[in-house]
């Protein structure tokens, strides 16, 4: 079936070509980083995780969001979603692949990456993260490929696939819970040391992931002969709406605890992000941009007439994506390091090599996703779906 990814029209090849250019630039930048050390990035002794881990955190959420299509279809027998489960699963595959790549490019000694497997440390959450992420990648490729093969043959998927699919549901929740646990168990970082971290992660994942899926479905409808379906997109948009409401609500809960208790440790990071702290205001424009997009997305999603119009829905989904990306990536990861354990403030700005590598990894993800989508859509077009 993979041969279908090698057959395409002009637009397909131009798109893949552009992605390859970004992948090449990213790879060359990574070689430069490998040679010179991570000093070519904007990270510092105080901000030891930057845009790589920020993107990793955001993308784990997107990967988990495939479960928002799988649960209604396989558990609640919502037949309509049968049309798009494969698209959700392949989005999950690409997202998890990007996560693993982001971790690899962030390592100081990537040649020693196998040490995590050679010296298993069950007490380290990073160990479990490696297991669940790789497992999820394998699960989704396995499930997606088999479901697609069955569809191509015109028969229902094999019976032994059902338990594997059922396994993928808690597994999807686990990848994001484990990633949240990376942050939520660290005693020294007050911005992250909150029980609601995992809940916040899941809610923003289930907002941003399906939002991206909606955008891709709309693009698929425009560029191919396969229509994911009006009802499917409508249900997905409902999911995005509720998840987004929860996401914003959870954030406001954090703000209440911080500012009603007035405990400095709780307040400082939020103050830095939205108002600046001791004259340092580097991230303030970013965070208010994120807030703006959140408000826009909430309005466009909650108003039924807006949500039902595909063009407006697309704008809403893009707003969800931008708002959640900034909040989770920039706000959460960078903000957690400010102020540092000795209450000093160092700010962070990504450098050019860092940005190029980041774009290279995103391009790789999109490349894989485009190839997989090409296969899936061609099969659906052939079987007359």
């Amino acid at each position: 079936m993979l041969e279908k990814a090698f057959v395409g029209g002009r637009k397909y090849w131009i798109w893949m070509g552009c992605l390859l250019v970004f992948m090449g630039a990213g790879f060359l930048s990574w070689l430069y980083q490998f040679q010179e050390g991570l000093g070519v990035t904007g990270m510092s002794r105080d901000i030891s995780w930057g845009v790589y881990i920020a993107n990793f955190t955001f993308l784990v959420g997107v990967a988990a969001a495939a479960v928002m299509v799988v649960i209604p279809y396989y558990i609640h027998h919502y037949k309509a979603f049968g049309r798009i489960t494969i698209l959700a699963e392949f989005l999950g595959v690409s997202a998890v692949l990007m996560c693993l790549l982001f971790i690899l490019v962030d390592l100081g000694n990537p040649v020693r990456a196998l040490n995590v497997a050679l010296h298993p440390t069950p007490r380290s959450i990073l160990f479990w993260d490696m297991i669940v992420l790789n497992g999820y990648l394998f699960l989704n490729i396995f499930i997606g490929w088999n479901v697609l093969m069955a569809e191509r043959k015109g028969s229902p998927p094999p019976g032994w696939l059902k338990p594997v699919i059922y396994l993928s549901i808690p597994w999807a929740i686990s990848i994001h819970t484990v990633t949240a646990f990376l942050y939520a168990g660290l005693p020294g970082r007050h911005f992250w040391l909150t029980a609601i971290m995992a809940a916040r992660f899941l809610s923003s994942a289930f907002a941003a992931g399906p939002a991206m899926l909606i955008i891709f479905c709309l693009i698929v409808r425009k560029t191919t002969r396969f229509d994911p379906g009006r009802e499917q997109i409508r249900t997905l948009s409902g999911i995005v709406t509720y998840a987004m409401i929860l996401n914003v609500f959870f954030f406001l809960l954090e703000c209440f605890t911080a500012f009603y208790s007035t405990i400095p440790g709780h307040m400082h990071t939020i103050q830095y992000l939205f108002a600046g702290l001791h004259g340092h205001t580097g991230l303030v424009p970013w965070m208010w941009t994120s807030a703006f997009f959140w408000v826009v997305s909430l309005i466009l999603l909650i108003v039924p007439a807006a949500r039902r119009a595909d063009d407006v829905l697309a704008v809403a989904c893009v707003s969800v994506f931008i708002g959640c990306w900034i909040d989770k990536g920039v706000g959460l990861v960078i903000g957690g390091f400010i102020p540092n354990p000795l209450e000093h403030i160092t700010e962070y700005v990504a450098t050019l090599p860092e940005v190029l590598i980041t774009l290279g990894v995103w391009a790789t993800g999109f490349f894989v996703m485009s190839a997989l989508y090409k296969v899936a859509i061609t099969v659906k077009e052939e079987t007359g779906a």
Binding site: E36, G108, N115, L126, G185, R189, F337, E343
Partner: protein, 289 residues
């Protein structure tokens, strides 16, 4: 009939073993986990398997200083600029710590900061001015319950079972920097660039390695000096200068588990505080204020 007899013999045998086991373990006075640990000679199972076909490892040198819980007490009122600079200089020199001017890339094992930054949870606007301006020496606290060791995915940083020192295995570190995020005290530095570019060749200590880019490093309580029977460099330097100035020693080092050690004596007779004790990491560096 045969089955019954066989069954009886099996049960009798197991019971006899069980009856013998209890006094046997009492005689050995060792639990199964302790026994396993002894067989593994302090290594973990994967490490032991990696070295399986080789001779047993070494032993502790006779001249080594031993303890089960190394700790340091900083007598803050004895500190001054000269002592602080000398300690930092000594530590960084013998461990080939690079001197990087850019504060974003700097590497520091031992440094100093002011009271409000070292003890942010103990804010005190009207504190004694001398204390406010004092250069507090800051280093890895070698916590008894270190979060950095809990999060390391490869056990590249670990609490040594024999003496409680939180060590770095530079050969295993993959540079994920999770330990840096976990440390509540900001004690760890990462080699963002090749450190050798920032060490003058004539100032290198040939008896100690440098590090490469891509690994995390921090104070290790001069484990290599303790093995030779010497005090950590900062402690030795501080004690020398304090002796010369006729002061009580500014840095005291010893075994917290030994009630007669220097550090226990000084903690018994002075009030001391630790950094962020509410986090439960149980730091082993005490500050006598």
């Amino acid at each position: 009939m045969g089955v019954n007899r066989r069954k009886f013999l099996k049960i009798a045998g197991v019971s006899a073993l069980g009856a013998a086991a209890s006094p046997a373990t009492e005689a050995l006075a060792i639990t199964p986990t302790e026994w396993l640990d002894k067989q593994l000679e302090g290594f973990s199972i994967p490490e032991f398997l990696l070295h399986f076909f080789h001779k047993p490892a070494g032993s502790q040198p006779a001249e080594a200083l031993t303890a089960t819980r190394w700790a340091m007490a900083v007598n803050v009122r004895m500190l001054d600029e000269e002592i602080v600079e000398a300690c930092i200089e000594a530590c960084h020199k013998i461990h080939n710590v690079p001197h990087i001017k850019n504060p974003k890339r700097e590497i520091k094992w031992l440094w100093h900061d002011e009271y409000e930054h070292v003890f942010p949870g103990q804010e005190n606007e009207y504190i004694d001015e001398n204390l406010q301006k004092l250069p507090f020496l800051v280093l890895c606290n070698h916590c008894f319950n270190p979060p950095c060791c809990r999060v390391c995915p490869t056990k590249a940083t670990f609490k040594r079972k024999s003496d409680g020192v939180v060590m770095m295995d530079m050969h295993r570190c993959i540079g994920c920097r999770f330990c840096m995020a976990a440390c509540p005290f900001g004690a760890r530095s990462f080699n963002w660039v090749d450190p050798r570019k920032y060490i003058k060749e004539e100032e290198q200590n040939p008896e100690y390695p440098t590090r490469t880019k891509g690994v995390v490093e921090k104070c290790q309580f001069c484990a290599e000096r303790l093995a030779k029977g010497q005090m950590p460099a900062c402690v030795e330097v501080a004690q020398e200068i304090c002796k010369r100035k006729g002061k009580e020693p500014a840095l005291v080092f010893g075994d917290l588990d030994d009630p007669n050690s220097e550090v226990r004596q000084v903690l018994r007779s002075h009030y001391s505080i630790r950094r962020k004790p509410e986090l439960g990491t149980q730091p082993n560096v005490y500050y006598i204020v």
